[in-house]
Symmetry: C2
Subunit: 211 residues, 2 copies
């Protein structure tokens, strides 16, 4: 996935000559804390935040160019950069948003941190049930009941906790991938649990086939 | 994981009687776009953003209570809420940060969207190699080379693309979980691919054991 697939193309910008009052009205109207400063061709010149505007108001500044951060100090990404770069940059520099440039240095979009959260959190919200359903489909000749039975056995082996297959099924219907990796202690551990269940049902299947 | 495990306990706040100038200086100093308004016991009374402050400056307002959002309109979470609730709320309401309350309505921390991104992105950055290593450890009696060979076979079956086991190993050393799920078309598909590899090595192992 590339940056251009997660960026917001619908953004507001200001010009360096714009007055502080006008810029603040625009940012309030669109509820933006951060905004690129661009020239008439939409090339990135600088960056302002509402913190620069409050300072500008206090200090009696009049135009954007008096308060903006220069292009050199603005964290930005290229539209063809991998999306994960934008994610890492946002977290590292604690950004609210970041301009996305094309080859000509033109601002083509913004990557917003809350969009990243939405994007990333979708993964966490996938039901564990769906992963087991995909597993059932993949493992030809293994029934859903066998899978749940194996899951109950593995759970008991690992945690000492007795659980019935139908209770296990109920649990995975409710729990999400995010909860599961937190509960099991991480992605690798979660996955290892699945493999253990897979190993048990596959061994049983192979044994059956050989009879 | 609970909200209190991901919240930032080190935050600034303002009082309703505070002047706009003083509050803006504080927010600029700590580089905060959003801040809780609290009483002398740190109970949540309201919420302000730098957008409220720019408007307040323009309109000649003097104190925080003239511009703040009342408590009723502030999205907040409880310290014992599941962390995922904070993630979902942040994405849904496009928040920069959100106050965390205890049973007494006291602000005990803030959940910041960029912290969530950092937290979520750690998962995406896990190397696929580590997942295979966990798989190798789990599947007693299956060697690393067998695992890579099976992975190359499954890749060829699924994509038609011929890949040598050592090329496969190189690939998973470089690629992350995030890239892998984007490349395979989603979490379920990624897991299904791993399960298919697991099935192949397990079937071979069982066959060996029966000889």
């Amino acid at each position: 996935m590339k940056v251009k697939e997660i960026m917001d193309k619908d953004f507001v910008s200001v010009s360096p000559q714009q007055g502080l009052e006008e810029a603040s009205l625009k940012m309030e109207k669109y509820r933006k804390f951060t905004t690129p400063v661009v020239d008439e061709n939409m090339k990135l010149i600088g960056w302002i935040t509402t913190l620069d505007i409050t300072r500008g108001f206090r200090e009696g500044k009049e135009t954007i160019q008096e308060i903006m951060h220069n292009k050199q100090s603005v964290h930005h990404v290229h539209e063809n950069d991998p999306a994960r770069l934008a994610v890492l940059e946002s977290a590292k520099h604690k950004l609210v948003s970041m301009p996305v440039l094309n080859d000509e240095g033109i601002v083509v979009g913004l990557v917003r941190t809350y969009d990243i959260v939405e994007n990333l959190s979708q993964l966490y919200e996938i039901k564990v049930y769906k992963i087991f359903k995909a597993m059932e489909q993949e493992l030809k000749g293994v029934s859903w009941d066998e899978l749940m039975e194996a899951a109950a056995i593995i759970t008991r082996r690992r945690t000492g906790h007795r659980i019935k297959p139908e209770e296990y099924e109920q649990r995975i219907r409710e729990s999400t991938f995010g909860e599961a990796i937190w509960a099991t202690g991480g992605l690798e551990k979660f996955f290892v649990g699945l493999i253990a269940i897979g190993e048990l049902v596959i061994a049983r299947k192979v044994a059956r086939a050989r009879k």
